[in-house]
Symmetry: D2
């Protein structure tokens, strides 16, 4: 990668092991994931310290919500980037099937 690339610029469909996707706003995505990791570690620390279950669950709910936010960001940029590109290139059907499969894996909960 020698130049800044927009999302999906190098996106390929399905089974190409070499496909690479530079996420748009990659730094922000990584920062969000870093925060989620810290929240999960915080939940563990609270359990170590025998904190009250409801306080632990409140922190865990925050981690879940943050992780869902990342999933939603990824899913939307995938749909608008890779899927839209595949569609323009005549590979829309494969990309749409793949999108539906990932929605099932997420149990749609990227949008919760």
């Amino acid at each position: 990668m020698t130049s800044p690339e927009i999302a999906g610029e190098v996106c390929h469909v399905a089974h190409d092991p070499a496909r690479r996707v530079v996420q748009p706003d990659k730094a922000r995505l990584l920062a969000r994931l870093g925060r989620v990791e810290g929240q999960v570690r915080g939940v563990a620390r609270m359990i170590e310290e025998d904190r009250y279950c409801v306080d632990v669950l409140t922190q865990l709910a925050a981690a879940k919500s943050a992780l869902n936010g990342v999933a939603k960001q990824l899913l939307e940029s995938h749909a608008r980037g890779c899927v839209a590109r595949a569609a323009r290139d005549g590979d829309g059907e494969v990309a749409i099937d793949e999108l539906l499969a990932v929605l099932r894996q997420l149990d749609g909960k990227a949008f919760d």
Copy 2:
């Protein structure tokens, strides 16, 4: 903690800052959270490496599902431990309201 304690054995209701709850199967809970943390870090690494969005989302779905599993375990042991104990002690109503509030925070998704 010098002796084995069962869940909720030292559970107090609501606003006691000193309430302490030793989670039953605490070691297993911490191990599960350690795995979730590793999965979240794995998602970040995949984004760093410009991996294909769908592969990232698949890993993220696994992290979400594992985090939901922890929430479910905590919620059930809270209900069977602290809430049941509060009920026996005549504080059932406060504990039930608190349980409903935490379910709303989790958006019920501990059970997804």
Copy 3:
């Protein structure tokens, strides 16, 4: 039933086939369910008329949301009525297990 009763007033635990629960705000619950029924019929009519999928899905999303609202109202009044009463009567543990089971059936989605 000869007199107005509050929720859970006649609530019994578990396997009593004769248990009866007069829902608080019963008229409002029934009105909400009548609206859900009308929304579901509306979805069917739109499909009959070959309406655009996205318009059908929007109406279906409204029906889902309304049905979730009813589930949430029922679940909360059950927890505050029957479960709290069972707790006072020393049957808290059975009632809490039953509540957890129904949350799993709803997939927690009364709170979505």
Copy 4:
């Protein structure tokens, strides 16, 4: 409709008020919706009869699950029909944005 049409055969994008979509397996969709309507009516009847909350919630959970099944069927055939067609016709981006919007309305729960 005088001839058999496949899904999306007459599908148009976005703001065409005349767009018509004959759902594939329309009869089965309508039969599923008829069952959901009956289930919702059954929930109302149980509340009328002052049935135990948990039994009502169990029936309501079944109605929810059936309604989710319909949403999932509609969403998948929309994605594979209308969205794929729009993609082939060069309108993929509009159709994908519309799909993301409807997922948000459903809160992704077609896939729950």
